[in-house]
Point group: C2
Chain length 330, copies 2
């Protein structure tokens, strides 16, 4: 566990991880990786008696402002590099961080290596839909994707959804600009062919409007598109809040009404609360590496750790390797 | 005016166009293009005395289900082909349609030709922002864009916003996956350089979350990304409606509350009503060609016609031609 990753580290990280240990009766052990004094002073403020943790010293912290590549070169003793190395060496079964996404991704790929058959590891992200959640993959890790990359994202996303979300035969949609197989750009047109020939439950192209409708369990796209859609989605609620706030400024009655309305809307839209989903996995690396939002609450951290444990037990990487082995020439 | 384009044609088209004539005191003349009997029977149901219209017979109608290219080949006497030809021949100053977007685009490009310096005509679309509207360009006409295409979209979008939305020096943002100039895909990285060297008010990369914040007046992107974002945006309100409806199903009190809330939300979010913007222009063709939503109301049709008149008077195409002439080698 990267003890110093995230905007509210170490407090939220320690609190969430200790909750996970408490709730599971120490079903696993947590190694807190980071500058020892920081971790100790953080722990001093939280009840932690009898919980199965250890501290592993790492003297450096990668800040959110750092460039991923530069930070990994210059900060060899960062919590991220040390933590992932612990995993690589088998002293930990998984690595979890709410820190620098790019650094966790790069370090995981470099240190753990890629699963055989995977050209590019990918990050998925969850979006709420009318009937559950949808896994959007790639969520921003890879731009300028070729068709075989999109195909691999589909395989990894499908296996993840099946094993982790308990979906029997997850439907996979290819994000494009029209339902017809003739609609799309060069990469999606070619990916459509690959996916049609695959054993995945491929339902064809889906459009921007189909994501929130929940038309597919897994929506496959280039990381450029995925990143734009996710950030756009996040901003919609902000716009709504601004509009309601302005409406409230019209008078005392409007203010009261807007306040009540905002409360109800919040409860209606609680699915949009990504904290519930507890981080997103980096798929395609030789290991289990989970990346959380910088603003992760203790609850989100707890969910990330439980998810990491689940991924280890289910051995998702073996399924990915085996599935990709059966396909030639990609 | 394509009299038979759109889901509620000819009624909405005729009603909107006649309103435009009435409101402006016949400041211009409208040619209704379509099967004469359909137009006449539509007109019979609407007050039209003393209004400056003519009917131009075109025997065929391109349906929404038709493929654009096939329809243009097979239906030589369609309202779209005949209407655009009237414009090409100088018998009309502009063409307006709420019909088949792809067919209007293809026919306009083929019949009217491109403005010198424009590689690919483009369609923009408006999105509401916290402080007004934003023009997203390209909105779906062109996929697999190269940097020079993105650059040309920026020039056309900027001129359109300046002349039509009365913005002194419209800010132009390049949609990407991070603010830094080093973030993006191959096309946007290269386009960033071209835009930085241009005379446009280029504010650099903008992210998905910046669109609705109104960070830029013009947001430039590949038509694949633009199409996905627009369709996604449309669907957000649908999800909200579904959630509110489900909440209402919890009981009689919830139902009353949800009803009141939906009403207020509607009034708060009326900017999302694209009808107000009255269609989107096809930029880069040698003429004025405006494309409306298939579900256009009479009000939207009226606004489209007034916008067409405005574009003709302001001679936007001359500005586009002159601006692109000053740049070499693109």
């Amino acid at each position: 566990m990267d003890a110093v990753g995230g905007d509210y580290a170490p407090h939220n990280v320690l609190a969430g991880a200790l909750d996970a240990l408490r709730d599971t009766g120490n079903r696993f052990e947590v190694l807190f990786v980071g500058p020892e004094d920081m971790v100790r002073s953080g722990l001093a403020k939280i009840e932690h008696n009898g919980l199965a943790y250890q501290i592993v010293n790492a003297t450096q912290v990668i800040d959110m402002q750092d460039s991923a590549t530069a930070a990994l070169k210059q900060k060899k003793d960062s919590s991220i590099a040390v933590g992932i190395t612990l995993h690589k060496e088998g002293r930990a079964d998984a690595f979890v961080s709410a820190g620098h996404t790019g650094a966790v991704m790069s370090a995981s790929t470099l240190i753990l290596g890629r699963i055989e058959g995977v050209s590019r590891p990918t990050i998925g992200a969850f979006l709420p839909t009318e009937n559950g959640v949808c896994l959007l993959v790639d969520a921003g890790a890879n731009v300028d994707c070729k068709s075989q990359h999109l195909y691999q994202f589909a395989v990894m996303g499908s296996i993840y959804s099946q094993k982790m979300l308990h979906l029997q035969n997850p439907s996979v949609g290819l994000l494009s600009i029209g339902e017809e197989s003739s609609k799309g750009n060069d990469a999606t047109l070619e990916a459509h062919k690959l996916l049609s020939q695959s054993k995945l439950n491929f339902i064809g192209n889906v459009e921007g409007r189909d994501i929130l409708k929940g038309k597919a369990n897994v929506v496959v796209c280039d990381g450029f598109v995925g990143n734009v859609v996710l950030k756009f989605a996040e901003s919609v609620l902000d716009l709504l809040k601004t509009k309601i706030r302005r409406y409230a400024a019209h008078g005392i009655m409007q203010k009261a009404w807007a306040g009540m309305m905002a409360g109800t809307l919040r409860s209606i839209l609680k699915d949009f609360d990504y904290q519930e989903y507890g981080g997103v996995p980096l798929l395609g690396v030789n290991g289990v590496s989970i990346i959380g939002h910088g603003k992760s609450t203790p609850k989100a951290i707890k969910n990330m750790i439980l998810k990491a444990e689940d991924m280890v037990r289910k051995n998702i990487n073996r399924s990915i390797r085996e599935t990709l082995q059966t396909v030639r020439g990609l």
